[in-house]
Structure formats: C-alpha cells, structure tokens
Amino acid sequence: MVEILIMLELLAPHLPLLDLICIGTGYALSQAIVFRAGTFSVATSGFAALGAYCAAILVVKQGFHPALAVAMGTLLGLLAGLLLAAPLARLRGVYQAIASLAFVEILVAFILYFEHLTGGPLGFHGIPRLVKPWMLVVIMLLTMGMLYVLGQGAIGRAFEAMRQDPPVAASLGVNPTKYHVISFALSGAIAGLFGGLDALRNFSLTAEQFGFSILIATLSAVVLGGRRTVVGPLVGVTILVLLPEIFRPLAHYRQAVYGLLLVVVMAFLPFGVYDTLRLRMRDRRLAREAAAQGGARP
C-alpha cells in the first residue's frame, strides 16, 4: 500500500503527460478511423479546433455546464465531419489529403479573423480547468472500447473491405458512400470531443495549436503506432510523448526526433510498431499451429 502511495507521489508531477497522452490518443483515434476506411483525410485537427473553440466559448461566454459544452463541441465536430464527407468522397488519395489540409487551413484562418469570438491571433484565454486527468483516461478508454466493438462488427468489416479494394467492396454490397460518411462522422465526433476536453484542460487556446504541427503530430502517432488497430494510436502517442521526456537531452531536438522516427518507421515497420508486432506474432502462431498439425498427421 505504502509503495503504491509513493509511486503515485512520484508520478504526480508527470500527470500533465498523462493528459497529453489521452488527448493525443483521442486525436490519433479520430485520424486512424478515416485511414481504416481507406480515406486519406487529415481533417482531424480542424474538427478538434471546432470542438475546442465551441466548448470554450460556450463555457466562458455563455456560462454553459462543461459537460453540455463538450457535448456541443462533439456535435459540432460530427456535423463538420458529415459536411466534409460529401466533397471528399469525390476525390482519391493525395487529393483528399490536400483538400482536407485546405479545410484545416481555412478554419485556422477564420479563427484568426473572427477576433471578437475567438480572441484572434492573441488566443482565447481564461478558460477554467474543469477536466480532471481521470476523466480523460475514462473517456479515452471508453472511446477505444467503442471503436473496438464497432471494428469487430459489420462496420469494421466494411471499412476493411473498402480500404483494401473499393471496387470489390462495392461488388460485395458495401455501400461506399454510407461507410465513407460514417467514418467521417465518427472521426469528426471523436476529434470534437477531445478538442472540447483539451480546451477545458489547457486554460487557453490559440489557432496555431490546431494548425499544421498538430496535424503532423497526430499523423506521426498513428503511423508510428499502427493505423489498423485501436491500440496502435495509443502506442504511437505514448512513444512520441514519453521519448523526449525519457531522453531529456533529446527534448531540444523534438522535431528532429519526430522526423527521424517517421523516416525509420516507414522504411522498416511500414504498418507501425504495434500493428507490425501483432502481424509478426500472428504469423508465428499460425506457423506453429501449422507445424503442430503437420506433425500430428501420419
């Protein structure tokens, strides 16, 4: 018991890291879900910006209950996802990536412009810290659980088919438009939710916070951890958050470390750390089972 208390005491100064991991995992899950459905959209940070500013404005200026404000942020993210799904469905591959990048940049520019609402270039300050670390952990785990359950069912199979071969998926009765819209709605809602939580945790918001750099951080986390499982994004975010903390001298070169990780992982573990490990373990198990069966046969 005493040991646990001491451990908690030791961990307490690192609680902000836990916050970062939870929020980052939320964003990464939102990013991973569109990848899973075979869409190359990077709109997550845009959805997150909508959720964050919505929650912050409702709490600070309208006096909403924080839970309600976050719910509204989630809803706004979901709506944005639905709206963006139709135009992006017309495009493929890199064109989707560029269009969603444009969406994020338009949002950032508007946040900077509508100063009376968002604080403009100076940022939005004076947000009360209402979200506790344990809430973040619970919500993150619930989101992961929900995505896991969805992934096991019809939606997961449809996403898998669409990613691997859209024409074959369509010929097997998967309605590509429907599942495309579902993936965007989920992505928007999750990013909106964690954006709202991020706003009520961080005291202040700036537009740059949701620009190109968070987009890269999210993308890196998903690619690093693995983009086909629910655990992959968590692994990726944890590595990216903890690595500069563990190797303190590296903290100054955070960007370079990110960059190096991306290049090396893409070259050697193209499916990400967690997913590649899982694939290897599955291959080994199958090989073992095959060997056992082969041995049993006369």
Partner: protein
C-alpha cells in the same frame, strides 16, 4: 494602381512557379508527393544567405544555393523515398508522404539549430535598392532579378526535359517505369537527376523569397508549400505548363486579395480557392485526354 499590383503579382507568381515546378516534376515522374519540398526551399535560402555573408555577390550565391539545395533534395530522395520503393503502390503513396514529412522535419530542425530560431537577414545592399520607371510602373532591381531568374530557370527546365537525351529518359520513366528500365534507362540516375533539378529550383525560389521579404527563417517553407498547392492543383498535379500558369494565377490572386481584403482573410481566400478547385476540377486546367483521371485512380 492595378497595373502595379498585377506586376507585383507576376513577380510573386514567378517565384511560386519555381517552387511549384520542382514539386510537380517529382509528382509527374515518380508519383511521389514530396512534403519535404518546403524544407529544401528553406535550405536553399539558408545556403544563399550564408554564401552572401561569406562575401560573395548574389549572382554567385544563387548558383551555390541551387547546387546546395539540389544536394539536400538528393539526400532526401536517398533517405526517405528509396527504401519505400519495395512497397505496393497503394501503401507507398501514404508511406512516402509520411516519410518525406519526417525528412522535412529533420532539415527543419537543422535550420532551427543553425539559425538559433532567429530570423536572419541579408546584408544591406545585397541587391541594389534602386527602382526604375517602366511604362509608368515602378520596378525594383530585385523584381527584375526575380522575374529574370524565374524566366531563365523555366526555359532551362523546358530545354532539359524536351531537348536533351537526359530529358527524354526522364520522360520515358514518367511514361512507363518498367519499359524505360527495359530500354536501358538507369532508374536511380533518373531519380537523382530529377530530385536535383527539383531541389535546385526550390533553392532558387528560397533565395528569391528570402531577398524579397529580407527574412530567412527555418519555418519559411511550410506556409509556402501549403500555398503552392493551389498552383500545383490548379495546373493539374504533374503538369509542367499547368504549374507555370497555376503559379501565375496564384501570384496574382494573392497580391490582389492582399491589396483589397483584410490581411487576415488572404490565407482563408487562398485555401478556399484550393478547396473549390479540388471540388470543381481536381485534374486541373490542363488535363490531357490520355492521362488517367486522378479522381478515378484508386
């Protein structure tokens, strides 16, 4: 007044053209989206700046910067793209984007390290501040230099691609990689050549932009890359004449909207334009009937 803005727009368009041509060259030939192109541009500006500071005149510093940026570009090819060629095409698309973002981050942090996160300036009088009157317009020496360099390099690129044996090999690889290889073209040599040309043009653009705003800093490439997407998409990704026209349109659009709109809305307008182009004409203005439509490519 408007004629002066048009002139300024064309000068800016010339610089965008240098940048966009290098990007579109790589995409057109290798189907690679080089997200590190902005970092190469920044590297070119740095090399040019330090050469000028070492005492060389600008007409000597420009070729040095171009060669330096070209070598950085080759290095990125070797580190970030070469290991990915074993992947299937669908996987390689995402992998090369992520990997080049990583390579770009490494170059970026090198720039940050070298400049100590400061904005560096060219020494006073690097380019004469004189202006001449031409048909009632005020043209600075710098603008003349920018237009001249852009024109020279674009003509040079066209000559290289369409009038030299090397250019014929490059076009053969763009047409069909396997066939070109069977006909005795060394693909690696083509990769090095095209990445060098692409990087050298970005480097020239970097020096020009560094001179025009008299500011060289490690983050200068990223917004430039994002905006250059307008030029690249408008002309059709991979199309050389398209990128040229797209860059001119972008230059004019940016200067005119900067002259008549609130400054904070200029970026929003540019990215809105990008989004609309992608929705209306994702193939750009110069689609050839024989090329595959990118919207149908899976």
């Amino acid at each position: 007044m408007i004629a002066q803005q048009v002139l300024n727009g064309l000068v800016l368009g010339g610089v965008y053209a240098l940048f966009a041509l290098g990007f579109t060259l790589i995409f057109g030939i290798h189907r690679i989206m080089n997200m590190a192109h902005g970092a190469v541009f920044m590297a070119g500006a740095f090399i040019g700046l330090f050469t000028v500071r070492a005492g060389l005149p600008i007409w000597a510093a420009l070729p040095v910067a171009m060669i330096g940026a070209g070598l950085v570009s080759i290095l990125i090819e070797v580190v970030a793209f070469k290991p990915l060629r074993k992947l299937a095409l669908a996987d390689a698309e995402l992998a090369s984007i992520i990997s080049s973002i990583g390579a770009g981050l490494i170059v970026l942090s090198l720039g940050q390290y070298v400049s100590k996160t400061e904005t560096l300036r060219f020494p006073f009088g690097t380019v004469s501040a004189e202006a001449i009157q031409l048909l009632g317009l005020r043209v600075t020496m710098l603008q003349l230099l920018m237009l001249g360099v852009a024109l020279l390099l674009v003509v040079g690129l066209a000559f290289y691609l369409y009038r030299t044996p090397q250019g014929r090999q490059v076009r053969a690889v763009a047409g069909n990689y396997r066939t070109a290889q069977l006909l005795g073209v060394n693909p690696n040599a083509i990769f090095y050549q095209t990445f060098f040309v692409s990087g050298a043009m970005a480097g020239a653009a970097g020096v020009m932009v560094g001179l025009a705003f008299n500011a060289v800093q490690f983050l200068m490439g990223e917004p430039f890359l994002l905006k250059a997407f307008v030029a690249i998409i408008l002309g059709g990704m991979g199309s050389i004449p398209g990128a040229l026209v797209g860059a001119m349109v972008l230059g004019l659009f940016q200067t005119l909207s900067a002259a008549y709109l609130p400054a904070l809305l200029v970026d929003a307008m540019i990215f809105l334009l990008l989004f609309i182009i992608l929705m209306v004409r994702p193939d750009g203005l110069f689609v050839q009937a024989v090329t595959e439509s990118p919207t149908k490519r899976v």
